[in-house]
Symmetry: C2
Subunit: 456 residues, 2 copies
């Protein structure tokens, strides 16, 4: 099996000392956030009542390619990083492909996903600022889990607005958050004005990320010394997640692995943005010609079927306006099991890169995703999260194309997490009762009608 | 923080090439298994209709201190081993103890526990023998998960008799086994004669490991080319689990760590036996004076309150008789959440070592265990399995003694797995409704009355 081990694990000394800021090298920068009241570009002062100050500075930083990781955060990272870069020898064999397949596996920590990379950083900055509580939202529960772990470590109280349908489908995920000391409130709830309004308009709704975000922001704004923290979409989250890509690049260089294709699932975009960051930086500089593929669910296809427009990040229309690929903040995704990908928009940086042709996107149907997930589990041992399995699906499809063409490509994908808390979805797949859902053009038009009309 | 990293991870080259067989160096050997019909010592021929042939040979091997790990099994181990030896810096700090605390963490594979170490070996030998199906039992579900992973890898059909109460408390654990292709039957069931008999006698029973074992053996015996595999108790399982202890010892030597105390939880005894194996070998040879502590639940106290006697391994009284610490095969443990420790007996090797004074045992109550588990989760990030948390409880207690005495001891414990599938137990603890259960002397007498009267 050559001299590539099954798992390439760097040493703790090789944990990156700097995050990678793609915006610094992008030829055209993403359009600025707009203040929802004035429609003028947001300033740091506009954002600091909602977000931690240091995070706002990172959010707006378009000049520094490398941003130092505080020593305390590197200390936290040492508890679970570097994460392994795994050669999928068994999957390659099962597929009979000449391709080499690698995956960067972010599920070896208890939170079970990459989300901890940004949680560790965000709570550190909150503590540094002297904040006394935080609010957030969670969909599938991975971000809530990661953040509650970080808040337990730094001893800061946390309130999590959890998408109602997820809190019902995943009571044990809720219990994990509570074990780490976080307070969980199913959203929409009656604890906020926006929650009450949404409940009045859609009494039976299972909620959405967009609506949970609105509630968490409302509480942060009306509570002293409290801020809201977000687990995806924003530029500073992508920045923190670049630790994934940097480690991957170091491991590739160490073992002379040259990826032809890099694949990641895209919800808000933080995993994908983090995985590709340093590789994309090189691509922009003309140093490589890697093919990047972002994979999204056919049920919530913001990149492949959305509009590139200014839109709100939340259902309550309280966030700044971001120019991104969006299905409209009023788009209500079907109760697809890949909760972490049920978001109407995508990161502004990822959207801009997509708009400018730096990567491809594709969408895949749920049943095909679970078919790939099950094959992967049986070959590679790891039971993948539904979100991550979107990337597995596309990696397998690319490897099968290599089998047909005889090409020996190197395919690398991000395995963002484990599926321990998604067993009801696996049960549905195992029993043959899983259905696919693809929004009709009419469904999409309904969502698009909620996009504000901002002239560019 | 000195030059000990958070996680000591050996390279794949350092995965042991040999398992360690404690029996070869024990001054007095464990008493032989007895055939349940003849009461004569079991021969290989007695055991081979039930177990894989190579495993029977390992079971009876009392002479070879080192037994080679087949290259194929080392290949499987590379998918998830070496496992990390973690310095619990954050827990030490939270306790304010001068002690150094380390844990060998076996939960980084999808099965979530150490059980995979023996599953990988046992299914390899089954495949080598040309078997076409396997049966087993599972309590908490960790063994069933591990075995279904290994069976998926080697492509051998598997039927799992799962303790009924566990299959009800942990539907998602059942779903994991099914995702890996295993067939799950809640035990006692109507698919076997012994299951029907137990159901007739105890219609409402939640089952037990002992009864699930009886059913799995019955099916193995009446099915062509099928064998039964067991995840604990037996000597060959301890042998495979010695990979835990060997890696730990190599890591300790590499970093000059000298444990004063080594702690493990004891159910059937495979984790504890595997963790201590090479250290105990040295102790028997007079090369160290390590204090070993086996920790069991107060609700199922086979070492601390059981009898050292010949007894059956299963409720149906079909297994060979083993001389071990036992509560009686008829002892019905309360529905304690630490399912993996709900076994009436303990490994013959572990029992003999205990009888001869080579280690200490203690028992701890469930609520104290979850208190320790929650503290550990919040400090160290990893959410521990209830079974593993018994060892955490005792490690913390020893570290607190060091705090009082000012001694800077080195405490090492086995963290056998994660608690992702035990969230209902955590929910019970979080909500304050968890109760403790300690069997009365009368309860124990009832169990003891089922121990056969074998003169020694």
């Amino acid at each position: 099996m050559g001299n590539i081990p099954y798992k390439i694990i760097l040493s703790e000394d090789e944990i990156p000392k700097y995050w990678y800021n793609m915006k610094a090298v992008m030829k055209e920068k993403p359009d600025p956030f707009l203040h929802p009241g004035t429609l003028k570009p947001c300033t740091a002062d506009d954002l600091k009542p909602v977000f931690c100050s240091d995070l706002v500075d990172q959010e707006l930083n378009q000049t520094d390619e490398h941003i130092e990781i505080p020593e305390e955060v590197r200390g936290f990272y040492k508890m679970y990083r570097p994460s392994p870069l795994v050669r999928a020898y068994c999957l390659e064999k099962a597929l009979g492909t000449p391709a080499e397949i690698y995956y960067k596996f972010e599920g070896t920590n208890t939170s079970g996903s990459h989300k901890l990379n940004s949680a560790a950083a965000q709570v550190y900055y909150a503590k540094k600022q002297g904040l006394t509580s935080l609010t957030t939202e969670t969909g599938a529960g991975q971000w809530g889990t990661a953040l509650s772990m970080a808040c337990a470590y730094y001893n800061i109280p946390l309130t999590v607005y959890m998408v109602k349908i997820s809190s019902e489908q995943k009571p044990y995920r809720k219990a994990v958050i509570e074990t780490y000391g976080g307070k969980v409130i199913p959203s929409p709830s009656t604890t906020t004005e926006i929650g009450k309004k949404i409940l009045a308009e859609n009494p039976g709704t299972g909620g959405s990320l967009g609506c949970a975000i609105s509630e968490a922001i409302e509480v942060a704004l009306k509570t002293d010394n409290c801020r809201y923290v977000l687990g995806s979409v924003l530029d500073h989250v992508l920045l923190h997640q670049s630790v994934i890509g940097i480690e991957t690049k170091v491991a590739c260089e160490k073992y002379d692995i040259n990826p032809d294709i890099i694949i990641g699932c895209v919800g808000g975009g933080s995993n994908f943005g983090g995985l590709i960051a340093p590789f994309m930086g090189d691509k922009i500089k003309g140093k490589n010609n890697i093919r990047f593929i972002g994979v999204e669910p056919a049920s919530c296809p913001s990149l492949t079927r959305g509009k590139y427009a200014y839109d709100f990040g939340d259902t309550g229309k309280t966030t700044p306006l971001m120019r991104m690929y969006t299905l409209g903040s009023g788009f209500m995704p079907s109760p697809n099991h890949a909760g972490g990908l049920r978001y109407h928009g995508a990161s502004a940086v990822v959207s801009k890169l997509y708009h400018d042709g730096y990567f491809e996107a594709c969408s895949v149907e749920q049943s095909k995703v679970f078919e790939a997930a099950t094959l992967f589990a049986r070959c590679e041992g790891t039971l993948p999260a539904p979100e991550s399995s979107h990337a597995i699906r596309t990696a397998i499809d690319e490897a099968l194309k290599c089998k047909e063409s005889g090409e020996k490509k190197t395919i690398l994908f991000g395995l963002t997490g484990t599926g321990y808390f998604d067993m009801s979805a696996y049960m549905s797949y195992n029993s043959g009762t899983m259905t696919d859902y693809i929004p009709t053009d009419e469904d999409l038009e309904k969502g698009f009608s909620t996009i504000p009309n901002i002239s560019l």
